[in-house]
Symmetry: C2
Subunit: 206 residues, 2 copies
C-alpha cells in the first residue's frame, strides 16, 4: 500500500477521526503537524501542494492528496467492517456523516474551537454574536442524535460501530469543552462509552 501521511492539527476532531479510523483498522499513518493558529495551512506552499482550500486534515496517499476528513475515513475503511455491507445501511452511514458536517460540526466543533482554543476574549464581534445561534444549533444536533440512539441498536447504523459513529464521536465526546452539557443526553453518554470500549480505540490526545 502507498505510504500514508496525515497533514493535520492534532487538536482538531476532524483530524482525530482519521487517526481513530486508522487505529481501529490497524493501519499505520505518518503524521505531519501544522499550527493553524499561526496560519501554517494558508501559506502559498500549503495551498499549492496540499490543499487549495487551506484546510486540514488532508490525507496524503502516495503522491495524491485527499481533503475532507469524512472522505479520508471512507478511503481508509474501504472494504472493512467499518462500512456496512448493506446498500441502505451504507447510505445511512453517509447520511449521518453529512449530518455531522452540516448540522453538528459547524456548531459543536466551532464553539469548542472558539471557547477552548481561541478564547472568548479574543473573539471578534461577529463571532461573539454567532454564539447563541451555534449553541442552539449544537443542542438541536445533539437532540437528534439522542433521540436516534434511544431506539437504535447501540450505534448509529444498527448494532455495529461504523464510520458514522467515529465521525460523530470525534467532536461529541469533547463537546463539554465548547460549553455543551452532555449529562443532559444519557443515550449519547452510553454510546460514547461503547465507542471507547471498541478494540483498538485511541483517545484524541494519542
Amino acid at each position: 500500500m502507498a505510504e500514508l501521511i496525515l497533514h493535520e492539527y492534532s487538536n482538531s476532531g476532524n483530524c482525530y477521526k482519521i487517526r481513530l479510523t486508522a487505529a481501529l483498522l490497524g493501519t499505520p499513518i505518518e503524521r505531519r503537524e501544522y499550527d493553524i493558529m499561526a496560519g501554517e495551512t494558508r501559506t502559498p506552499a500549503f495551498l499549492a501542494n496540499v490543499n487549495d482550500n487551506g484546510r486540514i486534515p488532508v490525507l496524503q496517499i502516495g503522491d495524491r492528496f485527499l481533503p475532507e476528513s469524512n472522505a479520508a475515513c471512507v478511503w481508509l475503511a474501504d472494504g472493512s467492517p467499518l462500512i456496512p455491507a448493506d446498500r441502505f445501511d451504507r447510505a445511512d452511514m453517509l447520511r449521518w456523516m453529512f449530518f455531522e458536517q452540516y448540522n453538528h460540526e459547524p456548531n459543536v466543533a466551532t464553539l469548542r474551537f472558539w471557547l477552548a482554543f481561541v478564547g472568548e476574549n479574543a473573539l471578534s464581534e461577529a463571532q461573539r454574536a454567532a454564539i447563541p445561534g451555534k449553541r442552539a444549533g449544537g443542542d438541536a444536533a445533539l437532540a437528534v442524535m439522542e433521540k436516534h440512539l434511544r431506539t437504535s441498536g447501540g450505534f448509529f447504523v444498527g448494532s455495529a460501530i461504523s464510520l458514522a459513529d467515529i465521525c460523530l464521536y470525534a467532536y461529541t465526546h469533547v463537546a463539554g469543552e465548547g460549553g455543551f452539557d452532555l449529562s443532559a443526553y444519557p443515550a449519547i453518554s452510553a454510546w460514547i462509552a461503547a465507542v471507547e470500549r471498541t478494540s483498538g480505540y485511541i483517545p484524541i490526545t494519542a
Copy 2:
C-alpha cells in the same frame, strides 16, 4: 425494487440533486411536495414519520427513510457509473460532496434562499449581518471549484460525470439568484454546460 418517494420542496437544490440523479439513471421516483415557508416540515407528523431533523429532502425507500440529499444520491447511484470504480476516485467524489455541504451550500444556497425566496426585506437583523460572510464564503468555494476545473478532465473527478458534479451543479448553476456573478468563473461556466449536455439531464424546474 422498493417504491421510491421523494419528500421535497422542489425549488431546493438539495431536492433537485436527487431528481437529477434519478433522471440520469432512468429511475422513476414519486414526488411529495412540502411548503417549507409554511412550516410543513416542522409539523409533529413530519418529525415523527419522515425526519426528526425537520428537513427535506428525504428519500423514502419502501418503508425506510433516508435524509441528507447527498446520501440519497449515493443510494440511488449505487453500482452505477455515477460512482467511480477506483478506490481513490470514489473517496475523492465524496470529498467534493462533503466540500459542497460544508463550504458551498451554507453560503451559495443560503444566499439564494434569502435573496430570491424569502426576500431581503423579510430577513432578520442577524441574517442581514451574515450576508457579507456568506458572500465571501461562497466566492471562496467557487474559486476552489474554478481552480480545480481548470486542470481537471472536465468534471470534478476525472473526465466522466459523477455524483460530485451533480451535487455541486445543483446550487452552482442558480448561484446568480443569490447574487453571485458566474461570468467571473469561466471554467465553472464550461462545466455547467457539460453537465447540461449529459444524456437524461433535466432542469431544476422539471
